[in-house]
């Protein structure tokens, strides 16, 4: 065990800020609730004169409290909007480990967290190119042919790029998913109508794959099973509503297509 100490009130407040920032960064980038709670608790209790560390994390906020000498510190952060970023999760994880075992000053830590929040590993174009490729390969995996592959690539590339623009307006996840699914299935119908794609269902399945909340649903069920019921429920609800939004988007286009309006 190490013997790093927190000197005074000011430093304790900064520690609170640091741990909350680390937790917020984790949660914003798609980490599971137990990882966020664990990271914050470890970071605080690594300092010798910090006691009774408790954290509570839901899908929409992180809460943290600890005692330093005879004072109790309580604070929380509201977290809005999550987007998957595995690199930042990895970096915060590494930083929290360093922080526990090395004597990193808290100001330094705050700078590191800020740097982590600003790291960009891939540009939007990279993401669109690779995300579209992934979707196109899904079309093949579900039994599409080469024409469907090309159609699905074009459709999902266009959809990802357009969705990048709409995220600027900070719409809610529901509208974004709805719009994404709507555009993806509309473009898919167009590729079939102009004769590029062959199997409409395979193209749509591939193209909506980057929207489908598979990871949130999995994480939600994991949270529920490990006892974080509130997080699991809220995350699961969000995932179910994303799925409903996608289903609406696809459903509208499908019913138009089958009704013979888009032909």
């Amino acid at each position: 065990m190490n013997h790093f100490k927190i000197k005074d009130n000011d430093e304790a407040k900064k520690l609170m800020k640091l741990a909350l920032s680390a937790g917020e960064t984790l949660l914003k980038n798609g980490a599971e609730a137990y990882r966020v709670e664990d990271t914050m608790e470890r970071m605080c209790s690594s300092r010798e004169n910090i006691h009774n560390v408790n954290s509570f994390v839901t899908q929409t906020g992180v809460f943290l409290t600890f005692e330093h000498e005879d004072k109790t510190y309580v604070n929380f952060r509201r977290v809005r909007g999550t987007a998957m970023n595995l690199k930042r999760i990895h970096l915060v994880n590494q930083f929290s480990r360093d922080f526990v075992f090395k004597n990193i000053s808290i100001d330094e830590g705050l700078n590191i967290i800020q740097d982590i929040n600003n790291t960009k590993s891939f540009t939007r174009l990279d993401k669109a190119v690779f995300g579209a490729a992934a979707c196109a390969f899904f079309t093949l995996m579900f039994g599409g042919n080469l024409r469907d592959f090309i159609a699905s690539y074009l459709v999902s590339f266009l959809t990802v790029l357009l969705l990048n623009i709409t995220t600027e307006f900070k719409l809610t996840f529901f509208i974004e998913n709805f719009l994404g699914a709507f555009l993806a299935s509309l473009f898919s119908c167009i590729t079939v109508v102009i004769g590029l794609g062959a199997n409409l269902d395979k193209i749509i399945i591939g193209s909506i794959m980057h929207l489908v909340p598979g990871v949130p649903i999995t994480n939600a069920i994991r949270d529920l099973m490990s006892g974080d019921s509130l997080t699991g429920l809220s995350k699961g609800m969000e995932a179910i509503f994303s799925a409903v939004a996608i289903a609406f988007g696809v459903g509208i286009v499908l019913s138009l297509y089958m009704g013979g309006i888009i032909r």
């Binding site: 798609g30 980490a31 599971e32 990882r35 998957m84 970023n85 595995l86 690199k87 930042r88 999760i89 990895h90 994880n93 590993s121 891939f122 990279d126 993401k127 690779f130 995300g131 579209a132 490729a133 992934a134 979707c135 390969f137 899904f138 093949l140 995996m141 579900f142 269902d201 749509i204 399945i205 909506i208 794959m209 980057h210 489908v212 598979g214 990871v215 649903i217 999995t218 939600a220 069920i221 994991r222 099973m225 490990s226 799925a243 996608i246 289903a247 696809v250 459903g251 499908l254 019913s255 089958m258």
Partner: protein
């Protein structure tokens, strides 16, 4: 023929996982490994589906393998297991089930929609259970090793 088909599916799964690893901004040095995990998980699902015709058990075993590989790679490459597990399981996510549920709802074939919808739900739970079981499995394995030493 069979071997070629399996190799083809492995490659498809690999590229799908690599694409999603980039889409989820995974660290550069982990992308190849998560691609391999994704490819193998998809291959297991595919083989089990062909053998038994049961999607749910295939999904479970695929997710289990992805989880085990994730825990293993996490130790080898010193990164949290999530970095490998998330691109690994993405191929198993029942996007097709969601689509067909909606398709049948639009056509007002509610019985078909209920059948496929419930299967989709079970597949989603199977992924989660597979990952959890693999986490518990690898943790207890580590525990036993420590006791052995």
């Amino acid at each position: 023929m069979n071997f070629l088909d399996h190799a083809y599916q492995l490659i498809l799964g690999f590229f799908a996982a690599v694409g999603f690893a980039v889409y989820f901004s995974a660290p550069l040095e982990s992308i190849f490994a998560s691609g391999v995990a994704g490819g193998l998980a998809w291959l297991v699902y595919y083989v089990i589906l062909k053998m038994t015709g049961n999607k749910i058990i295939g999904t479970f075993l695929g997710a289990f393998l992805a989880g085990i590989l994730g825990e293993f790679l996490a130790i080898k490459l010193k990164k949290p297991a999530t970095v490998f597990i998330i691109p690994g399981i993405i191929a198993l996510v029942p996007g097709a089930g969601m689509y067909y549920t909606m398709f049948y709802l639009v056509q007002r074939e509610y019985l078909q929609a209920a059948i496929i919808g419930s299967e989709t739900l079970f597949m989603a739970s199977a992924i989660a259970i597979g990952v959890i079981v693999s986490t518990i499995f690898s943790r207890s394995l580590r525990h036993f090793r420590k006791m052995g030493n």
